[in-house]
């Protein structure tokens, strides 16, 4: 079993759990200050996590460039789109 765990995906998993904790902490703060910055960070973290899942769990790091490219493009475009709509609409 430990042999199975010896893969980059496990380290990535630890990062993902940590990032979830960070987002949650940022998200549950109560305060009168503007929450916009925290929300943008939360969104960015979300898409970094999405990319990590794609690269390391779905094994897109070893996939042909077209497929990997499509996924990376998705992460970039959707993240940008959501942050933009959030900040500017």
């Amino acid at each position: 079993m430990t042999a199975l765990l010896r893969t980059p995906a496990t380290a990535v998993w630890v990062v993902l759990i940590t990032a979830t904790g960070v987002s949650w902490t940022l998200g549950i703060q109560h305060g009168t200050h503007d929450h916009k910055l925290a929300s943008v960070i939360i969104l960015l973290i979300a898409f970094i996590k999405v990319r990590l899942v794609g690269m390391y769990f779905m094994e897109l790091r070893e996939a042909p460039n077209v497929l990997r490219g499509l996924f990376e493009a998705y992460c970039l475009i959707v993240c940008t789109l959501l942050v933009t709509v959030f900040l500017w609409l």
Binding site: A3, I28, L43, P64, V78, L82, F86
Partner: protein, 197 residues
């Protein structure tokens, strides 16, 4: 004497599509549909910011966070299951798949509690625009998760076979990717609906 030609050493692993092409038509298509929904959610929010922020505060963020962790654990178990299958450790793979399945069931149980809380507080899909989108988006995700449980079940039975054909391997990896997609969608859904304001 013939000059010997040097072959390129197979040090660089050949690029390989995880699963098969068809799986990616499905997965990319699905995540694009969700991207449309995510955008629609934020557009609707921009028209009713105060309503959305106020309604969002009623949500149980702890349940959402627990669900995120459950799916992350299940995804890791699926990654390990694929590794186990590649190492011909079928029993281990099957146990890992069962573990991932149980995490999925736990997610559903938490979701039932979450929805019950909302309904008890008179917050239902027809209450307002926020709760409509909350229930539709999380419901659509739940629908995918339930299908994912079916896929995991298929993988469990596939793992019993000693020798998988090329197509069966493709389905195994593809099925694993589908489960990761279920995880991935929640990784956006939870922060977007529960935390962003």
């Amino acid at each position: 004497m013939q000059p010997t030609t040097t072959r390129p050493s197979p040090a660089v692993a050949a690029k390989k599509i995880p699963g098969e092409e068809g799986v990616w038509i499905f997965i990319l298509g699905d995540v694009c549909v969700f991207a449309v929904f995510f955008t629609y959610y934020l557009v609707q929010r921009s028209k009713h910011v105060d309503l959305f922020d106020l309604s969002q505060s009623a949500l149980n963020k702890n349940f959402g966070a627990v669900n995120t962790v459950l799916l992350l654990i299940s995804s890791l178990l699926v990654v390990l299951a694929v590794r186990a299958m590649r190492g011909a450790e079928q029993t281990v793979a099957q146990r890992l798949i069962v573990g991932a399945f149980l995490c999925g069931v736990a997610f559903i149980i938490v979701k039932v509690f979450e929805y019950s809380e909302r309904i008890a507080a008179q917050q239902i899909p027809t209450t307002n625009g926020f709760f409509l989108l909350y229930f539709v988006l999380t419901g659509l995700h739940l629908f995918h998760l339930i299908i994912g449980l079916g896929v995991l079940t298929a993988l469990f039975f596939l793992a019993r076979k000693a020798d998988l054909s090329e197509h069966q391997w493709a389905f195994f990896e593809g099925g694993a990717c589908f489960w990761h997609m279920v995880d991935l969608l929640w990784l956006v859904l939870f922060p977007l609906i529960f935390l962003v304001r």
